[in-house]
Subunit: 193 residues, 2 copies
């Protein structure tokens, strides 16, 4: 049942699509709209990216497309996540956070968080946030050390750019601390389940 064609994994865009489809079955066009009009529109989305990506996800067995309006030339396809798709998604969002995630895949990290809501339960979210905070706590001082060590002569652009980065990380740090509280095992947050 689970021996399959070439263990290829989805790309970032693929996971984004998978996550959105899992939240609610949708067509390619619906998904494009989301990328175009909401703040999720980071994963910018020409048809030339979306449709092939959906095809791949279907080939991997993570989603299935069902045709509505079968009589027209280009029938509308509504995709639904399969059980296997849900599994893959769950695994992906639940991965441990590495230093590399923070340095090179920051967007993906936040995408994982955003999509976690409908696939894992609170303890997993809690762990995710703690790991993220931990990574930040260790990385920020390093950046600050680099900043301090930078030569004071010449144009300040380099230093300023670095401190902009540091401030961004610090903002995320503060955010993570607050979010952690919301997911703390002791917390009395009123959400059901």
């Amino acid at each position: 049942m689970n021996r399959m064609t070439a263990e290829r994994r989805p790309t970032s865009l693929g996971y984004a699509l998978l996550g959105l489809i899992h939240m609610q079955p949708q067509s390619g066009y619906d998904l494009r709209k989301i990328f175009e009009t909401t703040p999720m529109g980071h994963y910018s989305s020409s048809p030339g990216a979306i449709y092939p990506a959906l095809k791949r996800l279907e080939e991997m067995g993570l989603i299935v497309g069902e045709v509505a309006d079968g009589d027209t030339l280009r029938p509308k396809r509504v995709y639904t996540a399969t059980r296997s798709g849900l599994e893959v998604l769950r695994e992906w969002v639940s991965q441990s956070i590495t230093r590399d995630d923070l340095l090179h895949k920051d967007d993906e990290l936040m995408l994982r968080f955003a999509l976690m809501g409908s696939v894992v339960d609170d303890p997993v979210t809690y762990r995710f946030l703690r790991q993220m905070l931990h990574a930040l706590d260790s990385y920020i001082p390093e950046l600050e050390a680099v900043l301090t060590a930078m030569p004071q002569a010449g144009p300040p652009h380099g230093r300023l750019a670095l401190s902009s980065g540091i401030e961004a990380y610090k903002a995320r740090q503060t955010w993570a601390r607050q979010a952690i509280e919301e997911f703390s095992p002791n917390a009395e947050h009123g959400r059901e389940k």
Copy 2:
């Protein structure tokens, strides 16, 4: 003198390389080290990306490579920015900031700022920062409106992810205000020139 092969423009990575080379002539290997070891290492850098990119820049006439150690099999090449390279770089960093830059090319925006130091004078930097602040001032409230309008039911991950984004933009806003002061035409900053 300036009719040339196909007006192709460098990619982000290309501009990063060009900027670094302009600051100081370097070899491909040197540049890779920078991406690997400094906080600039966002533009991650396998040889398979760097060397072809350098070749392209040279074809476009933006840099020239001079061979040191000509006798070995793989001679070391040190690249220097040409006058035309400097021009292209200057033009790129000086572009007006669009809303799209903020939404989809945030990294590139900060790269432009970081590289500005050695190619334009303070008024241009000042204009850049003011435009950036202006874009932020108009975009942040929009995001906040979206956040407020979000349904309060269900898992809070989506809302939290959005507010993380908002906080990041706000941090940049604060940063921009401070940076602007440093470049204000009235400012008495002690840097020469």
